[in-house]
Symmetry: C2
Subunit: 286 residues, 2 copies
């Protein structure tokens, strides 16, 4: 997805939000906003938004010296999600279609996102989302491709959401490789966060090699790109991965909540909708 | 009021909003956002926010060639407000305290504001605000100073709101000088807008000499500053004038709706509160 004009003020808001998480020093936050503001003129709208996210987080590390501002928040979100895990398993077990229920749970987990300007309550929002109608619902294609696949590449998004991903992985019934960011960025899931979420018990964990808050192949490692293009089936979680991959030339299943008006508009749905969208289904490769 | 960190992303939002009113050319809007972003590093938080508003609107004029992007919107708002005028006069006539009702009406008119990121419906919001409790209510001081004053200096804010101001001016019972911006900026009231609102029938209209969307004395004409400091009583409408004058060393009565969280916080009230606040009441000068 290209960058829209609306994303530009939002970059400043992101910088302010994370600046305040990283430091209480107003001068450093002003310096950060000065830098981000000055970089906008060099940022082409042909880039995807997470590329700017990547630059903003580099600046945050430089200016504040803090490498993982969301560390404690991520730990708290993982622990809260883990406390819900037994209940989630019970919901899946009792449901008519356990795969569909697990898909819903994985999407509901996408509510945990500090990259957008919205507050959330995991336990409250989560139950609402489980009942919500899908705005885009390509579940039939999802099942069809899953049945044919020998393995699944699963692109994680946020820490804590990763626990909800585990529920879906357990229902896929295929070997899964779970992809994490290379270093901490916003509250995105890293290798440590994935292990803390118990993903290592159900999937192989690999890094995409990127520090951007989304899967932008040009910023990922060559090894990852090869895995990406050769995967039988790709499940991509969340907005950042959608922004990076919406125009990619292979089949991908996007599972997300649209938490920003720009992405909702790009998908032709409303804000706060839930989406299971297939792109390039049935085309080659995969 | 100084500029808060939260104002910096808001400047970008303002630029985007007015850029889209002024032109449909995305390249020009990007150029505008590039310029505003780059100027943030040279903007001290010790300045007041309307000083940045002033710079943003200069850039809009330069880049788009459009001097009055809100011209048609202002005309529509004035006409809608004029259509409500007979009903407003009736409400005042029937009320127990006609001056207080006129104050409420003048504050309710402050809902017409394109400088903030909120949508409004004049007729709907207006009736709600007439019933709303004041968050700050210095009406007794207002009455006391009005009784002593030989004349009143009334600082207008938005076009359309000016019709609601006329209602209050008619109840003040003193000679009034109504102050407008020197040139069009956002939807702020200019001399032409004031005349279209019928203000010339009830007050003398003068310009503050500024192109900023607020009364910042250092940007106003010397003539205006002299009038300002010698006025018996000053009524200041809206957020922009509050931002410019909240720290001024003379008595001022601020009438406004707090439409932004930063200004609400500065006034120690909530967003969407209604305020009649006296500063430096009883102190010299005036």
């Amino acid at each position: 997805m290209k960058t829209y004009l609306d994303c530009l003020p939002c970059f400043m808001n992101q910088a302010l939000r994370v600046g305040r998480i990283a430091t209480t020093d107003e001068k450093k936050i002003k310096e950060l906003l000065d830098s981000v503001g000055a970089m906008i003129k060099d940022f082409s709208l042909d880039n995807t938004p997470p590329e700017m996210g990547n630059i903003i987080y580099q600046k945050i590390r430089e200016i504040t010296g803090v490498n993982d501002p969301y560390k404690k928040i991520k730990e708290a979100n993982i622990n809260e999600a883990l406390s819900l895990y037994p209940k989630l398993k019970e919901i899946v077990r009792k449901s008519e279609n356990s795969l569909l229920t697990a898909v819903r749970i994985a999407i509901a987990g996408n509510i945990i996102d500090f990259g957008v300007n919205k507050k959330f309550n995991i336990a409250n929002h989560f139950l609402e989302i489980l009942e919500q109608d899908f705005a885009i619902m390509d579940f039939d294609k999802f099942v069809e491709q899953l049945e044919k696949a020998n393995s699944v590449l699963y692109l994680g998004d946020n820490a804590g959401e990763s626990v909800f991903d585990k529920i879906l992985i357990e229902e896929l019934g295929k070997p899964v490789t779970y992809v994490v960011r290379d270093i901490p960025v916003i509250n995105d899931v890293t290798e440590k966060d994935a292990i803390d979420s118990g993903i290592d018990e159900v999937a192989e964990i690999i890094s995409s090699g990127t520090s951007a808050p989304g899967t932008i192949l040009s910023l990922c490692s060559d090894d990852f790109s090869e895995i990406f293009y050769n995967a039988d089936m790709i499940i991509s979680k969340g907005q950042g991965n959608y922004e990076g991959l919406s125009d990619v030339m292979r089949s991908v299943f996007f599972l997300l909540i649209t938490k920003c008006p720009v992405i909702a508009n790009d998908l032709n749905v409303k804000e706060d909708d839930i989406v299971l969208k297939a792109i390039n289904f049935g085309s080659s490769p995969n």
